[in-house]
């Protein structure tokens, strides 16, 4: 049910109610041309968003105009009375074309003896994901987006930034999660974001489910100013042929952890031998990371983009370890692969890296580095074979650090094996207060152009 204290202009429609009514009729066999539906679930979002951009210094120009988008979309899962299954996308046209769609879903039905049943309702966490202050912007009062981008543009262009790309957006969506066993979840969420990217060298931004606190915009602009300046100064770096120390910035570190570690935790990949980790490794709780490192699902953080009341299948949001103290605990599992592997399904939420007793600040790590590179961006991460840990990446925005001081930029190519790096005793972590992922320092091969 829709909470009663929400503003009247929430874009709530009767789509979900109508879908439920039509699916209940399908359960009763209202359509003569297809078998009865035995079970169903759908997960749909209906929303509005507004966006404004600066593209190559042009605010609100033809490639980044003020835009408004309305949409409704989601997914549907059906179990027919003969145990066949259907998976389909749904949209606003599903209701007026329901009979036709039902016939299409049946035509595409398939047999899968391992497919899951419909989930019984379970309590879901009540996490704050809605900021009413965003409503007016979404309704078309986009002056705030203009002001944000204009402030960034004025301040950055008055420093050494020649070309600026930036964007700001606000959105509101209603989520409708329903199933034939009684899951009935309806709630709104909001999102507010902006980002600035200077001279194709460095970018930073804000993105949460609430309006940013005072001073956040100024902090982001200052960060972009300082780091762009560093990246514009050329430097020299003499790589040690036996390996060089590098620091992956929090963004790049998060990308490595996501691709090489989290990317190999998919239940389907583990179960089908398409991952670096085997199912037996989880059963034996194999040590794959250092004892001080854990990977943790957390869906309970208020206003975070990763907050979750439930997955699309109805698994409640929550907290759970996938890797704890370096040992494999469980793959990331939907209902089907939970059934196949025997591990519990994974709660909805974002994946976070935890490092015991490591509270070193990012700036301190830089100050303590004798000679090495700070990597602010890599090209080609999506081309890597993450099942074996090997990486070979271009790092054209790398800053030389010498005796704790930033000297300037070099273009580097870095290569090594992340599985080995993450196990090494001298691999270190540090934290930037506004980032979820840690910066990571380790040794690898470096080539400089």
């Amino acid at each position: 049910m829709l909470p009663e204290d929400l503003p009247a202009n929430i874009p709530y429609s009767d789509f979900a109610d109508q879908m439920v009514e039509l699916l209940r009729k399908a359960e009763l066999g209202a359509s003569a041309n297809v078998p009865k539906v035995k079970g169903w679930r759908f997960d749909a979002s209906e929303g509005r968003s507004v966006t404004l951009s600066i593209v190559d210094n042009k605010l609100g120009g033809v490639y980044g105009p003020a835009t408004a988008r309305d949409s409704l979309g989601g997914g549907l899962y059906l179990i027919w009375e003969d145990e066949m299954r259907s998976l389909a996308s749904i949209d606003r046209h599903t209701i007026p074309e329901f009979e036709e769609r039902l016939a299409e879903w049946r035509a595409g039905a398939y047999s899968d003896e391992r497919a899951p049943d419909i989930l019984e309702p379970q309590p879901t966490p009540d996490i704050v994901m809605f900021d009413p202050a965003i409503m007016d912007i979404v309704d078309g009062d986009i002056a705030e987006l203009f002001r944000t981008l204009k402030q960034g543009e004025t301040e950055l262009r008055s420093s050494e930034v020649e070309f600026l790309d930036a964007g700001a957006s606000a959105s509101l969506s209603m989520r409708y999660l329903r199933n034939s066993k009684g899951i009935d979840l309806t709630y709104p969420s909001t999102m507010y974001s902006y980002s600035f990217y200077a001279d194709s060298l460095y970018g930073n931004g804000y993105g949460k489910r609430k309006i940013p606190p005072a001073g956040e915009l100024e902090r982001i602009i200052e960060d972009v100013k300082v780091n762009t300046k560093h990246l514009k100064r050329e430097a020299e770096f003499k790589p040690n042929p036996d390996g060089c120390r590098i620091i992956l910035s929090p963004g790049v570190g998060g990308s490595f952890m996501g691709s090489y570690i989290a990317g190999n935790l998919s239940g389907s990949a583990v179960s089908n031998r398409q991952s670096a980790y085997k199912l037996e490794d989880f059963k034996e709780q194999k040590q794959v990371l250092r004892e001080d490192i854990s990977l943790f699902i957390d869906g309970l953080r208020p206003f975070e983009p990763t907050a979750s009341r439930a997955t699309g299948e109805g698994i409640p949001g929550g907290q759970s370890y996938l890797i704890q103290n370096g040992k494999l605990i469980a793959p990331s599992l939907d209902l089907k692969y939970a059934g196949i592997t025997g591990f519990p399904p994974t709660p909805g939420g974002g994946l976070y890296v935890l490092v015991d007793d490591e509270k070193k600040a990012f700036e301190q790590m830089i100050r303590e580095m004798e000679y090495g590179l700070l990597v602010y961006g890599v090209l080609g991460m999506h081309t890597q074979d993450t099942t074996n840990g090997r990486f070979s990446l271009s790092a054209p925005r790398s800053l030389v650090i010498e005796n704790g001081k930033i000297k300037g930029k070099v273009k580097a190519t870095i290569s090594g094996n992340f599985f080995e790096s993450i196990l090494a005793d001298d691999t270190a972590f540090s934290w930037e207060p506004f980032e979820d992922s840690p910066a990571i320092q380790f040794t690898c091969s470096v080539l400089v152009e």
Binding site: V62, P65, D70, D112, S200, A276, T383, P396, T413, S415
Partner: protein, 502 residues
């Protein structure tokens, strides 16, 4: 017989959209998309799932007489919704003028494209049997699993049939379809040491024939066999020493080079910062590559990235961007062509009705003049045979270090400074024979400077092949892309082209 397009039924919506624009005294470009798709996956012989999808919606770009612009979209395709999104876009355009945004009047300077329907006759989804697709995909999956011991194979197949209608306030009304389909296999092998390696083989085309017709399935089989063999050998392959080498790349990698390293830089929306621009104008007439090199972009009927009409309702032209090494033209859209100093070529594409059009490639290819003939079918050319072709044509000395990079795994580019990277599936050292064959190394990133790489092209080997398939991400939108080159391209050693490694 050409298809009947589903977007033909929206005359009332189109009329409502255009008449509301007239009432508000704004110029409108309306885009209606009606898309249908189907995908399926077989994992180690088991059907993982079949998914069906459809999406219908409408987007409208609105321009005030002063050239200020706003955009709105909705998934309701009705006359009422059309009027509403025109009003919303107009309101945004008028508010933008207050905030000092940059106007663009190009839309008032173009001639109408008329009223046209360009429909293909490729199979619709209703003409395509699920059972036949599933059965064939299972057979493919099982066949590939037999190409080695302990192979894990995930096969996937998808077909999409999008119908589009683009209208403008000047009377333009263009309808067309964009069918595309592919079938691919991810092959994973785990060695005795526990190391895993994954490779990928695929073919693409316009419809389910990519899976069901012999010509395509034979090609997929040859590619999958090669990739299964490669995955098994890569498990214990060493890493290459990083540095600068003379290179031979296959046509899929050459497509990557053309696309990532050059195509994006030739898109006119970025000309103020592109390496192919100077003071916002294209550097037309400059020699930017070896004189033997020509780079062409254009839509090909039946290709995965087929696009006959632009997202602003203009015919897509085939463009020789680089002719004999000289920059001749750009991939130019309605809004940035004039400023870049080149004619409009209808290069605008969009992922969905929700997106804004930006110039980008369809099928881009590199051709090298006077290529060395090659009789062997591409999929059957061995590294050893390639070495012999190089030696016999004076492109390699017996003791010269030459690497053969095979299989494209994607890439990335920064058109503003000309840095590109792309990755291969394997590297063979043609100068290092092991058991009579060139030695195999792990894949490594191939990075460099665009113009240095193009200036260093020494030769093309074999016929031009155009079906290297991929997806292009730009402005947050992914669209199908494809292209190719001569079967193999030889690039001289260059200090600005680096192979990453130990």
């Amino acid at each position: 017989m050409p298809k009947k397009l589903r977007v033909a039924k929206y005359d009332d919506t189109i009329e409502a959209l255009l008449s509301r624009a007239r009432e508000l005294d704004v110029y409108a470009i309306g885009r209606i998309m009606d898309s249908q798709g189907r995908s399926m996956t077989i994992n180690n012989g088991r059907l993982e799932g079949i998914s069906t999808g459809s999406g219908t919606g409408m987007g409208v770009s609105v321009f005030t007489r002063e050239g200020y612009t706003g955009f709105a979209s909705s998934d309701k395709v009705t006359p009422e919704s059309a009027r509403k999104i025109v009003e919303t876009a107009a309101k945004l355009a008028f508010s933008s003028s207050v905030f000092g945004t940059e106007p663009n009047l190009s839309v008032f300077e173009i001639a109408p494209s008329g009223v046209q329907t360009i429909a293909t006759d490729y199979k619709t989804l209703t003409e395509t049997s699920y059972e036949e697709q599933v059965q064939r995909l299972k057979e493919c999956n099982e066949q590939i699993r037999e190409y080695g011991t302990n192979l894990s194979v995930r096969s996937s197949h998808w077909v999409n049939d999008s119908h589009w209608r683009i209208v403008r306030s000047d009377g333009t009304d263009m309808s067309f379809d964009l069918p595309h389909a592919a079938v691919g296999a991810n092959i994973t092998v785990t060695g005795t040491s526990g190391n895993a390696v994954s490779t990928y083989a695929a073919v693409s085309g316009p419809d389910a024939s990519v899976l069901l017709d012999n010509a395509y399935s034979e090609k997929l089989d040859l590619r999958a066999r090669k990739m299964a063999d490669l995955a098994q050998k890569l498990v214990d392959a060493p890493r290459i020493r990083g540095g600068n080498y003379k290179l031979v790349i296959d046509y899929a990698l050459a497509k990557g080079l053309a696309h990532e390293a050059f195509g994006h830089a030739s898109e006119t929306d970025g000309m103020e910062t592109s390496i192919l621009g100077k003071d916002g104008k294209m550097r037309l007439g400059e020699q930017l590559a070896a004189p033997s090199v020509t780079i062409t972009d254009g839509s090909v009927l039946g290709d995965y990235a087929y696009q006959p009409i632009s997202a602003n309702g203009m015919p897509r032209q085939t463009v020789e961007i680089l002719k004999d090494g000289i920059l001749r033209a750009g991939l130019a859209d309605l809004f940035s062509a004039a400023k870049a100093g080149v004619p409009i070529t209808g290069a605008e594409r969009i992922e969905s009705y929700r997106n804004l059009p930006v110039p980008r490639m369809t099928n881009i290819r590199i051709s090298v003049a006077n290529p060395i003939p090659l009789d062997t079918r591409f999929e059957l050319v061995t590294p050893l045979e390639l070495r012999e072709v190089l030696l016999s044509n004076g492109l390699m000395q017996a003791d010269e270090q030459v690497l053969y990079l095979s299989g494209y795994k994607g890439g990335q580019v920064n058109p503003k400074d000309g840095d590109f990277v792309f990755n291969c599936a394997s590297i063979y050292a043609l100068h290092e024979l092991e058991n009579g064959n060139p030695k195999l190394y792990q894949p490594a990133i191939f990075s460099g400077k665009v113009l240095s790489a193009l200036h260093s092209i020494l030769a093309g080997i074999g016929p031009i092949l155009l079906d290297a398939q991929g997806h292009c991400g730009k402005a947050g939108q992914s669209v199908p892309s494809s292209g190719g080159a001569n079967s193999f391209i030889v690039i001289d050693r260059n200090e600005n082209v680096t192979i990453g490694g130990d």
